[in-house]
Amino acid sequence: MELYLLVDFGSTYTKLTAVDLEKADIIATSRSFTTVATDIHDGYHQALQHLYQKIGSEVTFSKIVACSSAAGGLKMAAIGLVEELTVEAAKRVCLGAGAKVDLVFSHYLNTKEAERIKNEKIDIILLAGGTDGGNRDCVLYNAEILGKTGTKVPVVYAGNKSCQDEIMAIFEKYHMEYYICDNVMPRLNVLNIDSAREVIRKVFMNNIIEAKGIKKIENEIDEIILPTPHAVLKATELLSKGYLHEKGLGEIVIIDIGGATTDVYSICSGSPKRADVILKGLEEPFAKRTVEGDLGMRYSAMGVVNALSEEEINLYLEQGLDMVSEAKKRTTNVDMIPQNDEDENIDIAFGQICSNLGMSRHVGKMDTQYTPMGTYYFQYGKDLTGVDYIIGTGGVIIYNHSPQEILKKMLANERSVMELRPKNAKFLLDREYIFSAMGLLSLHEPLVALKIMKKYVINI
């Protein structure tokens, strides 16, 4: 019997998943609080004891790999030139690498912005700008101004390749830690994620987890290889595409509503479905992730209310639901677990707003143009109308009695006709919260990971 242990050091919980490779099945899962503030080993050991109890004996694992979003996850600053172009490309690379993009800057940086990057505990800076052979002044200026602040934050340079030499000279001059990779936008509106994402992953693995006190655990496990959202992205991509003879599910959307953020993933090309539609804007990634930092069930509950208009809040009041005081209750008591049906129904209301807005910000949009030659349509972003499945994950969805109530808010509706939302998608549930673990497993055993996901992701 060959066993793998997959560990997810989350911001709140350390989650363990033990997998039997031959049976292609999960034998046990357990969790305990993450103890990164004191010693990360404590929480891990506690979770491990729970796991042994569930299995019935102490077992040995042939491989133990982990992903992490503990100690605030991976915080990045994205810098580009034009907002709709290299800034957007840089942002997408950060999100695809599993980071939270805390700061976004365009054009020439000013000293205040550069200082913010230095002071706001950013883990990695992604510096982009200019297509290959294109603008060089801006990135050179920005590299210089970053250097002048004396920042010790590692910088990943993914801008115009034609000035890599000058950029390196600037970084050397200021003794900065830097990494050079391919341009995130080598040609206009062409997105190139892979090179920068791989470099970010390496920097995360080698430096960031060390700085956050997570690397210590590597004396007991094999390695921490990915930021958690990156692992989830890997799992969802595998589940969509399939592997060898094992078929995937096709086009999928995944929503993870957490306490602080709402993550939406879509795995499909998202190209126009009709001949009379013209695609505009920057190329979209096949596996796309967006994160809404203002939409969450607990820490960000106030953000959910702030996203509502006064009329909408009054509409909830009319139905006997005071969203403002409920949001306050949730932000002050972030460990709150619904005790009765009423609490759960209120959580559903919050979850619905998160899923509706999360989808609205993720999905592509249509725009009509009336021309002398007739009506033409633009498409900005991804067309998700043909998505086969919407998969729910995250505490509020998993533990709720009617998760479909939350998920159905992501579908096309008469209020958002210009949004290219899924039309007839079926709903699935990641009841055991296994995506991050399966993302890790997929790096070594994709077939097993796929089989397990297909078994555990259930119909609702």
């Binding site: 030139l81 034009v82 709709e84 172009l85 290299t86 054009h107 700008g129 200019g130 297509t131 052979g133 294109g134 603008n135 060089r136 034609s162 936008m185 040609r187 206009l188 013209i278 505009k280 143009q369 009336y370 021309t371 002398p372 030659m373 033409y376 633009f378």
Partner: protein, 149 residues
């Protein structure tokens, strides 16, 4: 040091000149656009084509990122005058105020005296204005001269 200067000089010489082209406004005439792309590419230019149905911002953003020396605006459907208005000001605002602006096609409504049209577009800040039916080949010598070749 000397080596660096040499390398930079060579780099400067071999660097291709970049030209942004496209069809402005709600205009979907794609054929001429493709011909212009083909001819300019054959002449050795780095052509960045923003395509049909392009806004002023699409042209300008592309020119900034690619460090273009010129923008060639096409308009075939008669609304070019409205579509081009304010473009120079936006270029100035975006930090590429010195960029060369070319415009050509059926850029105004109906058949008008071309001298008057040319004057109006010059007032708007366009450097080169071409009458209906001007083939791109006829414009090439001017492009080369303007780009210092």
């Amino acid at each position: 040091m000397v080596y660096n200067i040499l390398v930079n000089n060579i780099k400067e010489k071999v660097r291709m000149k970049t030209i942004v082209i496209g069809v402005i406004g709600a205009d979907v005439h794609a054929v001429g656009n493709k011909i212009i792309e083909y001819v300019l590419k054959n002449e050795g230019y780095n052509v960045v084509n923003v395509g049909v149905l392009s806004s002023q911002e699409d042209f300008i953003n592309a020119a900034i990122e690619t460090n273009a020396q010129a923008i060639l605006v096409s308009s075939l459907y008669g609304h070019g005058e409205i579509d081009c208005r304010g473009m120079r000001e936006k270029c100035i605002e975006s930090g590429i105020g010195d960029i060369l602006l070319y415009v050509g096609g059926n850029i105004v409504v109906g058949k008008q005296d071309f001298e008057g049209v040319k004057h109006r577009f010059e007032e708007m800040g366009f450097n080169r204005i071409y009458a209906p039916g001007t083939p791109i080949e006829a414009v090439l010598p001017t492009i080369k001269a303007d780009l210092g070749e």
